[in-house]
């Protein structure tokens, strides 16, 4: 082995000792993992919760039949929420706003940020359809007053108006506003707000579990060296590099 690599290895070992991290081998760690007994019905509940909060009604129904898991809420109430989400995803923001108010007028009243984002999306759709004049008028009448109340709204408003300034919208600095993902972002926000307002709903458990995993691994990294899961979708264990 070359001198270079010998030195590197020595340095790594000194580093490990200096930070005095506890080293847990793969074998030891696998045993700890296997000692955690996860109940099948808890996992089923987690999946059902995911399907319900995302609003996949038919899928939840099938899952209930195939796994025997009961959803926490009446599946019929999801369809209303899904109609709103779909409306936003297809760019029919006015329709979505009407539906939200039909469901519960308090949602938009108590969520100024959400309402602003919906109005912003409305403006984006007008611009997308080439209705420049209508977009400007809309910005002046509906969005500018909100912008005056709140600094961050103003910045968002300016970004949106900027779309009108460019000939080649597809390549301008704010082009992402025209992207489908912007609609999805707004749709997710509306979905979450409706979920929160429906007091018998539970919040989405799977995303928070995944965040918890990433976070706790980062925390544990400071004190120990152990096999990590770096790729969440495969959940494959990777030995840590000292």
């Amino acid at each position: 082995m070359s001198l270079f690599w010998i030195v590197i290895r020595e340095l790594a070992e000194i580093q490990a000792m200096a930070t005095s991290k506890k080293v847990i081998t793969r074998v030891e760690w696998e045993k700890k993992l296997n000692d955690v007994k996860v109940r099948k019905d808890d996992m089923n509940k987690l999946v059902m919760n995911f399907l319900v909060t995302e609003g996949y009604v038919e899928v939840a129904e099938k899952f209930r039949l195939e796994s025997g898991t009961e959803p926490e809420i009446d599946l019929a109430t999801i369809t209303d929420r899904m109609a709103v989400k779909k409306a936003v995803q297809s760019g029919n923001v006015e329709d979505a706003i009407e539906k939200v108010n039909d469901l519960n007028p308090e949602i938009l009243d108590t969520n100024p940020l959400l309402f602003f984002h919906l109005q912003q999306q409305r403006m984006i759709e007008l611009i997308r359809n080439g209705k420049v004049e209508a977009a400007l008028e809309f910005a002046q009448e509906e969005l500018a007053p909100r912008g005056e109340e709140n600094q961050s709204f103003l910045e968002e408003l300016e970004r949106t108006v900027a779309l009108l300034a460019f000939e080649d919208v597809a390549n301008c600095p704010v082009s992402e506003l025209l992207d489908i993902s912007q609609r999805l972002k707004t749709a997710t926000e509306v979905n979450a707000a409706i979920l929160t307002s429906q007091s018998h709903e539970k919040d989405p458990k799977l995303p928070s579990l995944l965040k918890m995993l990433i976070w706790v691994q980062n925390q544990l990294d400071k004190k120990a060296s152990y096999p990590r899961i770096n790729d969440i979708s495969t959940a494959a264990l990777e030995d840590s590099v000292v």
């Binding site: 506890k22 847990i24 760690w29 696998e30 700890k32 993992l33 296997n34 000692d35 955690v36 007994k37 996860v38 109940r39 099948k40 019905d41 808890d42 996992m43 509940k45 987690l46 999946v47 919760n49 995911f50 399907l51 996949y56 038919e58 899928v59 099938k62 899952f63 195939e66 796994s67 025997g68 995803q89 929160t196 539970k202 919040d203 458990k205 799977l206 995303p207 928070s208 579990l209 995944l210 965040k211 918890m212 995993l213 990433i214 976070w215 706790v216 691994q217 980062n218 925390q219 544990l220 120990a224 152990y226 899961i229 790729d231 969440i232 979708s233 495969t234 959940a235 494959a236 264990l237």
Partner: protein, 452 residues
Amino acid sequence: MSEVTRDLIGDHFLDLWSKTRARKPESDEEEEELPTELDPDSIAGGFAVVGPDRLSVRYPNVSLHDHDAGVVKANHAAPMKRMIYYFEIFVQNEGAKGRITVGFTTSAFNAHRQPGWEESTFGYNADDGLFYNGQTSREAFPTFTAGDTVGAGINYATRNFFFTLNGVMVAFFDKDIKGPVFPSVSVHSHFEEVLVNFGQRGFAFDLKAYEAEERFIIEEKIGDRVSVPQNADHGIVRSYLQHYGYGETLKHLDISLQSIMPSISAAPEDGASEEDTMYAFNQRRTLRQLINSGKIDETFSTLGMWYPQIIEGDSSVICFMLHCQKFIELVRDEKIADALWYGKSELAKFMNSSAFGDIAKDCSALLAYGQPKECFVGYLLGDSQRELVADAVNATILSTNPNMKDGSLCKYPALERLIQQVTACSLEKRSLKGGEGEAFRLSRHLNSTYKA
């Protein structure tokens, strides 16, 4: 794959079955001793008298010196393996001078002074509303007297002591005392009397709401600092459905996803792992449906056709589980004579084995009861038992995949591995941090609700 892997898989499910029977406490949090009453032996110098129910304490003599406080501790230290510990006192009688103090002391503390006067102790004093810690007194807080309910608690997440008065949070302070601490009360003048509540009765302070709020704050903080790859959750749910063979659900999920996120169902990032989870999908799905409808004879014949190696020899764990299930199904259908005959011919050979004996006895116990559903082995008649058997068969079929890289993947879908990892990391982190605080627990995570 090899016999060895199949046995390991079988053992895993047998183990799961045993855990259901034994109904062991879910985690170590339930194994810690809790303070339940006051400990008269903890009183130094006889300056306090504990009532016969051990949930009250009063000052016995007229005091002569300021030093003669009667301090009593709880019978156990506050548990550490949780996020918050809390107890309350009710001031029955403020006595001559109203100098009751409530707080925490260490096991070494053995003086007749109020909690707080010494270092490594902490107390909230009725008389001057001052918190004492060692010898530092701090700014004044509300005083308390007869009729008041005072609470003292430890928040391991924020490393604080906190105190409440009549259901309202009063203050919190850094907890820099290491090691176990005991709930403690002191009385210091004639006629002072205090009742203690270690949770046997409801608290004036809404502890559950406080816990939910604290958990929410932590989750929010994590949420702000951490981001998860886009659509990771969809991928995990799909692989879960693939792993267990939930075909209809998977089909409909893919349809829904197609319209929203065409990228997700089209080409999964890791083609290899998709092959593994989809291996023998239709066969596994069919067998699950058979088992869920209780058609065990058909299950045996279908397995014999497709995967004879699994039931060869009729002595493996899978065979045992299937025979038991057949027996259970007969009992379900109230075909008692048939069940008896089946038990004698097929289950008997498992009775003497050390591995299967106890479980097999549970099955035969079903016959002893007129109302089997209500007895302690009633769980066998439930759907979850069918599901356990279906899961075992599922995993065993997955193990026959000749391209399978990692044998353990048969047992666990990605979702389960993630849950195990977050739990194990959380437990390890706690043990490296002095064993304090609550570790991740899936059942608690599933049941938490908080409205901001």
